[in-house]
Every structure is written in C-alpha cells, then in structure tokens.
Symmetry: C2
Subunit: 224 residues, 2 copies
C-alpha cells in the first residue's frame, strides 16, 4: 500500500509517518520510484505499537526508540523485550522513603518472600513500592503482615493474568504491545475492580444480613 | 490545647483550622473565653482525616463535608461510611464504552460471577471497570476469560487485605481514614507490585533457567 493508505489504515497522519521514518522508528518501505514506496502489514503493526507506546504509555520518542530497539534486536530475548517495555512506563515514585526507608524495605521483603518473587534490584517498581510503603508508614497507616501478604498474592495473581494474555509464539511486537497496553490500562482496571471487591467484602463484614448467596445485588439505595 | 498548639500538632495552619470551623468540618472547642477555646484529641483526629481527604484523596471541600456527614451520623452504618468515602475518590472513567459497551459488560459479568461479588449497580467503580474494558477491546486487546478470572481473583485478594487493615471496633473516623489512604496509595502500591510480579513470572516463562529456587535474584545486567 502507499503511504496515504498506510495513514488511513493506521490512523496516523502522513506527516507523522514521515517523521517516524526519518527517526528510524519505522522501517522504510520497498521503493517503487525515487519518491514512492510500498508499505505492508509489518508497517501497520509497527505503527500500532508506536501509537500504543506514545498514546497509551505516554512515552517520549527517545524512550519509544529504546523499546523498539529491544524489539528489533534478535539477540534480545522476549523477557528483556517485555522488561524494557514495562520499565519504560514505570515511575519510581520519587525518593520519599526518608525516615521510613527501613520499614518500607522490610515490608517489601515480607511480600517478595511470601510470593517467591525473583526480581532485579534495579527494577523501578521496587523503588516505587518502597516509596508508597514509606508514605503509608509516615501517615500512620503501616499495613500489617497479613495485609502485606494478601496484597502480594493479589499482585501475583494479576501478573499471572497479564502473562496469560501475552500470546505464545515469537510475535515480539504483539507481545510488547499487549504488555504495554495491559499494564497501563490494567492499573486502572485493577483499581476499579478492587473497589468493587471492597464493597462486597465490606458488606459481608459490616452488613452480613445483606451479603446473600442468592445472587441478588445489594440495595442500591443504601450507598452513595 | 489552644488553637496554636492544635495547629502545631496537626500541621494544619491556624487560618485553615478557622476555615474548617466556619465550614462546620471541624467541631467547635470548649469556650474558655469569648475569643478562646480548648481543643482535644478528637479535634486532632478529625484534622488528620480532613487532611487525608484533601491531600491524599484530592477531594473538594464540598465532598469532604459529605463524607464527614456520614462519619458523624450515628444512623449511618460502617459499611455506608466506607462506601461514601471510597465512592468519593472513585472516578467512573468517562463514558467511553461506546461500541464495545456490551463486550465490556459481558467481561464484568464474567468477573463478578467468578469472584461472587455483590455490589450496587450505582457503584462508580463498575462504570470505571466497563470503561477500561471497552478501551481494551477497542485497542484489540480484549482479555480472555482466564485472564479476566485471574484479575478478579487479584482484586478480591487485594480487597481482603484492605478490609483486614481496617481496625475492628467502632472507630468510624479511623476506619474512614484507613479506607481512604489505603485505597488511594494502595492503587499505586498494587501497580508497583504487579510489575514486580510480572518480571518474576516473565522470567519463569521466558528464561526458566534464570528462575532458580535458591533465592538468588536475576542478574541485574540483563534488563533495562
């Protein structure tokens, strides 16, 4: 297809496609004349991934380039491709650990030991988790070990679902796209699901007479 | 204590305390003279909760007032107090369901049935979950039923941990504060933990030779 068709099919403006070509994010098409080239499915798929990285992940072009570099380098294994993608969209949450750094670190150890996680010490999410835990301690809301263990189990279950969603085989672009979109949108989804589950657990604990097993939902007039 | 001490102990400026008194968010102290009043622990605890609602929850004063109304009304049960608090900090994610509304609704049904959740149809998190799921469908990343079920289990486990963190007894202000802070900061924490768990699961799947059971972490030079 021509660049105009590629633009229509992908929803990416021609000027943006040309910018991606210049920056090396998108591979050149097969030249059909000095000023024309033909593009195929591989260009469409790459544009989909770039859009996900830019629009869903909110990544700057330099970081997009880095992730695509991992996708394109056959020496980089699938685990590294996924790691590079998820690291790129993960904040460390600032360096707020401060006075509660040790307590936060102890919490992280409780959780990683309970879940049996093996993870690089440089994972930005480790710093992110420590920073949130330190803030909980600072606010006088240090979670107990049973809560920490349940949260670790929750995250582990979620990640199992995430990995299940990544197609088998060696579609590196597709896997990176799924990991990126699933991780970013999945955060919002899990936050919503957690509130739904909280309401259900709260009813069971504080209004046991309303938590019936007959599939009836709670009376909507009682909340909110 | 005097208002100046209340300010020091709570970290809330005197002018802000006076504003909360005028707005009825904070109950008056015992008058000791026409221009002075004495404050006690109950004022400190209330200020803590207000700070959490405003600073951690990002709520406008009108919404803070509504949540505090539920806390203060003895006819409002604990389940409603927690519900009012969590509803106040929950966005519905816009009305993006559009063409994929039915698919998103079906996904939600798979998850609520699997987890056995009973929840009000008016829960804002239901709309939030539908909106994210519709966006996943739109992006061609519709999760399979096994992924949906694992995510539901994850949210359920997280909520169990959340409820565990809420003190027993009838400390309504403390419970609301824990629910608020735990829910808001917990979103960030679970997002971080999920990435840690993803890395561990990804290693087990794509680099099984590196997922050793001897407690050694992955070689940090291989990722990121």
């Amino acid at each position: 297809m021509r660049v105009s068709e590629l633009s229509r099919s992908s929803g990416v403006p021609v000027a943006t496609i040309k910018y991606y070509l210049r920056e090396g994010l998108l591979h050149r098409g097969a030249s059909t004349s000095p000023n024309q080239a033909r593009y195929d499915e591989s260009h469409l798929r790459r544009l989909r991934l770039i859009r996900a990285l830019v629009e869903v992940g909110g990544l700057p072009i330099a970081t997009v380039k880095d992730v695509l570099g991992a996708v394109d380098d056959p020496a980089t294994g699938m685990h590294e491709v996924l790691g590079r993608t998820v690291y790129a969209i993960t904040g460390t949450g600032g360096d707020e650990a401060g006075a509660f750094a040790d307590a936060a670190e102890a919490d992280v150890r409780v959780m990683t030991a309970h879940a049996g996680w093996h993870v690089s010490e440089r994972a930005p999410a480790l710093a992110g988790a420590r920073s949130v835990l330190a803030r909980l301690h600072e606010l006088g809301q240090a979670p107990g070990d049973d809560t920490l263990r349940l949260w670790a189990e929750a995250a582990d279950r979620a990640a199992e679902g995430d990995l299940r969603a990544i197609a088998h085989g060696d579609d590196r672009e597709g896997a990176a796209e799924t990991a990126l979109i699933g991780t970013v949108l999945g955060d919002a989804l899990l936050a919503a699901l957690r509130r739904i589950a909280q309401e259900s657990h709260s009813a069971a604990r504080f209004r046991p007479e309303c938590a019936r097993a007959d599939g009836e939902t709670m009376d909507s007039s009682t909340i909110g």
